[in-house]
Amino acid sequence: MDIIADVLERNGLLFAFVVVGALMMISGWLSKTLTRGRLQGSAIAIMLGLVLAYFGGINTGGEAGLADIAIFSGLGLMGGAMLRDFAIVATAYGVDLQEIKKAGAAGVVALIAGIVVSFVVGAAVAAAFGYTDPESMATIGAGAATYIVGPVTGTAIGASSEVIALSVAAGLIKAVVVMVCTPLIAPFIGLNNPKSAMAYGGLMGTTSGVAGGLAATDKRLVPYGAMTATFYTGLGCLLGPSVFYFALVGLFG
């Protein structure tokens, strides 16, 4: 047993390919037999991945889901930011620049609306749970934008570490539910063309959520959604500790 585990650990990335391949095979089969193809295999695979990540996290107490278990550590490299962004950029090959130009205005509006809406919703929920000081409201609002904007904002304005942890959790929840729910809500919000995908990317902003959600909906939409989502975190980090925080101080401080 030790020898097997040793080989798998030393060749982590290769074992990750095998694990994901097996996951996709099982998911494809489940998609055909249980949902008659209605729910895409990739959507099921992403959900299975999230479930496995949950058990990995519970078992190890680590932060990287299944990748915290030594033999699965290759999943961390395979699904890490470097290869993920590399593959996202590759999906843009053959994209029609005309489509992007046509949707440019909608994309910019979506970005600004997405950040503002997340901040406001997050801050309102924070206030409803009794976190009524501007620092906590701004930090949790920023966390509802993405799990990166939350701690960046919280650290900049001096929120408590408990609130910062909550903001990360809010951002993580958003990323996870965006991954799972995108294919389910897509038909209701007209998410079936490049322009609505660009709007969706700007409104949601979580790169991992949008990347996973659109992959499970229609792979051809990925580059459009990712195009706007990639500006979101930077813009959020810019607005969170400044405009948004000062607005809250003005209103409730």
Partner: protein, 133 residues
């Protein structure tokens, strides 16, 4: 050569990331601003020009298409390494904040997608496209 495609893709990504980081420093935030987006535009523009001059032959193209095809498996690996335990451990407030942001954002998609005229849905995926995914 297949590697030329991979190298071109990597170069676009590195340049895009650099632009994103520089932009982040310029506006004073500790984050990459739009790196992936710039990389994508670079790739689309550069490959389009090279193709028109016949400098981006099929084998080179394969180097890019391979990574594009690996996208979904990579996203599945990403899903399995998310900090789901902490997300769920955040309790009801974190969950409501995250879900609320999703719901409010999703509700705005049809409104914002209307800016600049209605778009046609993409045609249904062909069997070949489905098999690639």
């Amino acid at each position: 050569m297949v590697l030329y495609g991979v190298a071109a893709l990597a170069l676009c990504m590195l340049v895009g990331m650099l632009i994103g980081d520089v932009l982040g420093v310029a506006v004073g935030v500790d984050a990459n601003v739009g790196g992936v987006g710039f990389a994508m535009i670079l790739l689309v523009v550069a490959t389009d020009r090279l193709r028109k001059r016949g400098l981006f032959p099929k084998p080179t193209e394969q180097g890019v298409l391979f990574w594009s095809a690996l996208y979904i498996p990579i996203v599945i690996a990403m899903a399995s390494t998310q900090n789901v335990a902490e997300a769920i451990g955040g309790g009801p407030m974190a969950a409501i904040a995250g879900l609320g942001a999703l719901a409010a954002g999703a509700a705005l998609v049809p409104v914002i997608a209307r800016i600049g005229g209605q778009s046609e849905p993409l045609p249904a995926m062909t069997e070949e496209e489905k098999a690639e995914a």
